[in-house]
């Protein structure tokens, strides 16, 4: 990798640095340098595709009571059902196809994770930016709230909130956002503190641009690299937290089963050797979280200027 800025010659830019070596291309080349990350990224794409198109690609609609036959219940993987279709991953206690349930479950899990991740990111990074930019008491107050928030175990906060709010997709998103915004706030504050001392922020102040514009147009874009990493890691965290809550029976309602609920549903059959009802949704959850984390790790490596080779 060549140093991008060519000092000295005042006509450096005329040599047509640029297209061939644009930051995006460099970033992509670095990212896909690792085989593990490439595979993880492909798997993640597949998972997202399944989640998006679950109603069209899953073999059955597991929640359409007209197509579910109770006589198909607890069939082992690969067996043929009453109506002649093959259940590749078996069926659960109510005769639903596990594969289809996983597809639908991924849809719920991912959307809850991504939604809460995005909302927490917008909230948390705005708060972190404000703390860093204005400093002083504002900063102290916000960061002490963050400290308090982070000193409670996430699961405890979520449990208390859900006990107060009740069940529902919206409520679990509220609980997840409440647990996670602090991570974003802390990350963005840290990088914004560095950025706001740079001369380009002084230049923007000198140009009489208003605070909001400086914060969101000038400072925030330069805080993005660490933020992207936190988004991926925290989304994975949100998905697993939601699965935990659903497994405990206080997360999502039975009408919108996520992977956690599917695992909980099969849990009672584990000891009677009907492993597939719990294990396959568990494996799906595992793959999802591992791939997101692998992608996040690689992003962190690529976006960290200190690791730049």
């Amino acid at each position: 990798m060549t140093a991008l800025a060519d000092h000295g010659a005042d006509h450096g830019a005329e040599q047509g640095v640029g297209q061939a070596d644009s930051p995006l291309r460099r970033f992509l080349a670095d990212f896909f340098e690792s085989r593990v990350a490439t595979v993880a990224f492909a798997a993640l794409l597949g998972i997202v595709f399944i989640a998006l198109f679950a109603p069209w690609i899953s073999p059955t609609n597991p929640y359409d009571l007209a197509t579910v036959d109770i006589l198909d219940n607890r069939l082992p993987p690969g067996s043929e059902g009453f109506t002649g279709m093959t259940f590749w991953l078996g069926t659960d206690g109510a005769g639903r196809d596990i594969l289809s349930a996983i597809f639908y479950g991924l849809r719920t899990s991912l959307s809850v994770g991504v939604m809460s991740g995005l909302i927490a990111m917008v909230m948390g990074s705005s708060i972190g930016l404000v703390a860093a930019y204005f400093g002083g008491r504002t900063d102290t107050l916000i960061m002490r709230i963050v400290d308090v928030q982070l000193s409670f175990p996430a699961i405890l906060v979520a449990l208390v909130l859900l006990a107060l709010l009740g069940k529902g997709v919206d409520k679990i998103i509220v609980a997840l956002v409440a647990v996670q915004w602090a991570y974003y706030a802390r990350t963005v504050r840290a990088s914004a503190l560095v950025e706001r001392r740079k001369e380009y922020v002084e230049a923007a102040t000198c140009l009489a641009l208003d605070h909001r514009r400086i914060l969101f147009r000038h400072v925030l874009p330069n805080c993005l690299p660490p933020l992207i990493v936190v988004v991926t890691v925290q989304t994975a965290h949100a998905i697993s937290l939601e699965a935990t809550l659903s497994f405990l029976g206080i997360g999502l309602p039975v009408t919108e089963p996520s992977l956690g609920l599917l695992i909980a549903n099969g849990f009672e059959y584990m000891l009677s050797q009907k492993y597939w009802i719990s294990i396959f949704p568990g494996v799906a959850l595992l793959i999802t979280i591992v791939t997101i984390n692998l992608v996040g790790d690689q992003l962190r490596d690529v976006l960290n200027p200190r690791l730049q080779r």
Partner: protein, 333 residues
């Protein structure tokens, strides 16, 4: 000095206070020697810059010259004192007027790498402020931008590029274009050429001179490089540890410096005539602005220091027409 004052500073002071945290306050209550730390960056600075003039501001690093520049440019607020722009106190203006004045005073920074937002294209770096402030309509924007860039010696085709695709000199030109795009009258150049190669320095200095002729700009040129200041300035202020110690026209100053500090500074300027002589650095270090010496700030390093210098801070007094110096030696010897 010629013409009416465009910018006038009266008794400008800036203190940076590092206040104690809770533990520190507690320790201080319990009798520890921990105290609030106050840095006296500027101490009662008076300065006048006439319209169309180029004023050099010289001093060692850490003497407060960048702080002064940032206060004049509106980036920092002074702790005490007044800034008059065109005869009006900046702090008494309505928000709309203050904004107009803020745009009239622009700044060019030392580090051409940190002073451009790495995630913005040249087009946005230079063009954002004029668009936001409505100085140019959307229809005329492109041609306006091309004009500003051309004035600074940049090609219009550079608009879509990012700062990292340019060399140091070109980046500095982009910084100048950014400042010029809001049609300023007064430009603060904070060590604007210090980070550049000598050959590029000359180009940028010539650009400053040309822009001054074309647009009638006024400059406050902050530098530690006496050669550069001598080349570009009409008048020079010498600063030491937050105070102005001497001011004179460039010719007078370089011909016959009055203040011992100025004399010591000028002696060290490398010149062709003196290239074989040894250089004697000023003795001692610049004192810490956390705990500046009493009396004249320069007395610990001054070869002529007397008892009076240790007790009483000298005031800036006129020693000749248009020349001010703050030294007790000028009082009847």
């Amino acid at each position: 000095m010629s013409g009416p004052a465009l910018v006038e500073l009266q008794g400008l002071s800036k203190r940076f206070v590092k206040s104690l945290d809770l533990a520190g306050k507690l320790a201080s209550k319990l009798g520890s020697s921990i105290r609030e730390e106050t840095v006296y960056a500027l101490d009662g600075v008076d300065m006048t810059v006439a319209k169309g003039e180029v004023v050099g501001l010289v001093g060692e690093s850490g003497c407060g010259k960048s702080t002064l520049g940032r206060i004049v440019a509106g980036i920092l607020k002074p702790s005490d004192g007044r800034i008059l722009y065109d005869g009006r106190d900046v702090s008494s203006l309505t928000p709309a007027e203050a904004k107009a004045v803020a745009l009239k005073v622009q700044m060019i920074f030392q580090d051409p790498f940190a002073s451009l937002n790495p995630r913005m294209r040249v087009r946005d770096i230079v063009g954002e402020a004029p668009l936001v402030h409505g100085l140019v309509s959307r229809g005329e924007f492109e041609s306006y931008l091309d004009d500003v860039l051309a004035r600074c010696g940049l090609d219009a085709s550079y608009k879509r590029r990012f700062p990292h695709q340019f060399s140091g000199g070109q980046r500095q030109r982009i910084g100048i274009a950014r400042a010029l795009a809001v049609k300023p009258d007064f430009i603060v150049c904070d060590e604007a050429v210090a980070a550049l190669d000598v050959s590029i320095q000359a180009q940028i200095l010539n650009l400053f001179i040309k822009l001054r002729e074309d647009l009638g700009l006024t400059y406050l040129f902050i530098s530690h490089d006496l050669g550069v200041v001598e080349h570009i300035s009409d008048r020079v202020y010498i600063m030491y540890l937050g105070r102005i110690v001497e001011t004179a026209s460039t010719e007078d100053m370089f011909a016959a410096p009055n203040h011992p500090y100025t004399r010591a500074l000028l002696r060290e300027v490398p010149r062709l005539e003196t290239r074989h002589s040894d250089f004697l650095p000023i003795e001692g270090e610049i004192p810490s602005p956390l705990d500046p010496p009493r009396g004249c700030h320069f007395h610990p390093r001054c070869p002529h220091a007397m008892q009076r210098c240790r007790e009483e801070a000298p005031r800036l007094r006129e020693v000749a027409a248009g020349r001010l110096s703050a030294c007790h030696l000028n009082d009847g010897i």
